[in-house]
């Protein structure tokens, strides 16, 4: 009986968690399969569920959706470019600091950590101004470079933590075997760091795909903006087509969620381990 009470207590905690977590998600789904009338009626399930909203989105048949495919492409381009660039920059830096023990590596690590701790919205203001003086505003590169700036400190930190765990003797063995620094990097370091690299690449990719603030500050041309900013435009007027907004939002949210769950094995171990040290 005691055991039953204990299980019941767990379930009593579980049900509110489930409702709390899923309600906004369910609400998106509900809207995306509802007609406009049904969506605005406050119903918990539409009388006639429909996929018509998605058709409207894919065929770009609404004023707010005229650039849907272009915006998706921009989002994808920016996310992939950010992921790859961050990986390249952070992996080289972590290798130089952790394995080559480059002089000044510690100072660079501290500079990176400092960047990591600046609240993102605070850095956005000077970044916006600087991008303006570089003449990069409204170029997709401005967002990519801004996201690389935001993603690489954490990436370097996590990769450095992971590389510090590789046995130092491997490097010594490779040196005795005749490896140059680049051969050590390519033939020994990269293969051994693969799980962390997957985690970090995914992290940077998702960060860029999900970003709203920097995107809407740095990009305003309708053919350079990513989908996130395009979604924000829906709120420009009072009678927005919310059912189309939610259908588009669902399409926008699915890839990152899918990627997150696909790489969850790497993400949870790789990212939370370095996130906060005790």
């Amino acid at each position: 009986m005691n055991k039953f009470a204990r299980e019941a207590k767990l379930w009593l905690i579980a049900i509110p968690i489930l409702l709390w977590t899923l309600l906004p998600i369910y609400h998106i789904f509900l809207f995306s399969i509802s007609s406009k009338d049904s969506a605005f009626s406050g119903a918990l399930w539409p009388d006639h569920p429909t996929l018509r909203n998605f058709g409207t989105v894919f065929r770009q048949e609404h004023f707010y959706l005229h650039h849907f495919w272009e915006q998706i492409w921009n989002s994808l381009w920016i996310a992939v470019a950010t992921g790859l660039l961050t990986l390249a920059v952070a992996t080289c830096a972590a290798f130089a600091i952790s394995r080559l023990k480059v002089k000044g590596g510690r100072a660079v690590m501290n500079a990176a950590l400092f960047t990591y701790f600046i609240p993102a919205a605070f850095l956005a203001v000077p970044m916006y101004k600087a991008m303006g003086s570089y003449g990069l505003l409204n170029s997709r590169w401005s967002l990519v470079l801004a996201m690389v700036t935001l993603a690489s400190p954490y990436a370097i930190w996590v990769l450095k933590q992971a590389s510090d765990k590789l046995p130092w003797e491997l490097d010594e063995a490779a040196r005795i075997d005749g490896a140059t620094p680049l051969q050590l990097f390519r033939l020994v370091y990269l293969p051994l760091m693969m799980p962390s690299l997957v985690a970090i690449g995914t992290y940077a990719l998702l960060l860029a795909w999900n970003e709203y603030l920097y995107a809407f500050l740095l990009l305003s041309h309708e053919n350079t903006i990513p989908l996130a900013v395009g979604l924000g435009h829906f709120l420009a007027s009072d009678d927005s087509p919310w059912e189309l907004l939610m259908a588009t939002a669902l399409i926008y949210a699915l890839p990152p969620a899918a990627i997150y769950y696909a790489f969850r094995r790497y993400m949870v171990g790789g990212l939370t381990a370095g996130a906060v040290k005790t």
């Binding site: 500079a111 701790f117 609240p119 956005a124 709203y212 924000g232 996130a275 906060v276 005790t278």
Partner: protein, 290 residues
């Protein structure tokens, strides 16, 4: 065969062996150094230079929105972050139970963190719509009364922004605290059980002492980041009604949209005396462990 005292000839060759490793180290560090100089150091210096006029601060302090914003920010930080951590501490205790279904639930529980902010915040925004939102329509069906005008009331609006923030960030910090709890050796709990400790005593004498530092560090880190949480407020209330729900993060951006960059920078500079000590504390913590 004792060693013979003929010294080896002095070797004049330079130490090129090590230097090639150092050279490569510098080369591989350069990309990040460039990123830092061009996209952090220069913008920040430029921004501080823009914020040098005393007049910006006079204007800022005269702006009634600014005072309201500071109060909002402090309330948001203290209430939302601490509430979030108390919940995370409680939930982490729930999620460490070893049940297959709890593991399944934890996968669902992560969703808010795994999906982008805009869709879910917009979703909540519409849920709170006073006329058509699902919340008020449920309230009406249950009580026959009209629900509150959630986002048109500054207090309720800011509260809801806090709720959105907690909804979005809770899974991540719960995950961190779960990791902290799982790092405690099981023997400590078994020893406590043998000594006759109750559940609360186990928490007080085993769990809490082990994760206290993690809890504190995480709270401070979360405060720094929450200071930069633009989305929860902007996407939900847009700072309204009448600019009464702004926090510092959204106020700075508001000034940019009004093309008052000096003013935007001044807003940030005003916040620095509070941010920098926290950042300094975090830097100390992280580099002390190396």
């Amino acid at each position: 065969m004792a060693s013979i005292a003929i010294p080896h000839p002095a070797s004049p060759a330079p130490r090129k062996a090590w230097s090639s490793w150092q050279t490569w180290g510098v080369i591989m560090l350069t990309p990040y150094i460039l990123v830092f100089l061009v996209f952090v150091l220069y913008p920040v210096s430029y921004g501080l230079w823009l914020a040098r006029h005393q007049q910006s601060y006079v204007t800022l302090f005269d702006d009634p929105v600014f005072f309201r914003t500071v109060v909002n920010t402090i309330v948001f930080l203290l209430v939302a972050v601490n509430l979030k951590f108390i919940l995370a501490l409680f939930l982490s205790g729930f999620f460490v139970h070893e049940r297959a279904w709890i593991r399944g639930l934890s996968v669902i529980f992560i969703i808010p963190w795994a999906v982008p902010a805009i869709p879910t915040i917009f979703s909540i925004r519409f849920m709170l719509n006073p006329e058509w939102g699902i919340i008020n329509s449920v309230i009406f069906r249950l009580t026959g009364l009209d629900g509150p005008n959630w986002l048109n009331n500054p207090t309720l609006g800011l509260t809801m922004a806090g709720v959105v923030h907690i909804w979005k960030a809770l899974p991540f910090w719960t995950l961190i605290l779960i990791a902290g709890r799982l790092a405690i050796p099981r023997e400590q709990y078994e020893a406590a059980s043998v000594d006759g400790a109750t559940g609360w005593q186990k928490f007080k004498y085993v769990t809490w002492p082990s994760i206290r530092t993690l809890y504190l560090t995480s709270t401070i880190l979360s405060m720094i980041w929450t200071l930069g949480d633009f989305n929860s407020v902007y996407l939900l209330t847009g700072g309204g009604p009448a600019d009464l729900t702004h926090v510092l993060a959204t106020l700075g951006i508001r000034y940019i949209r009004l093309d008052q960059v000096d003013q935007a920078m001044a807003t940030i500079v005003v916040a620095l005396p509070f941010v920098l000590p926290l950042v300094y504390f975090m830097m100390k913590r992280l580099s002390a462990d190396e």
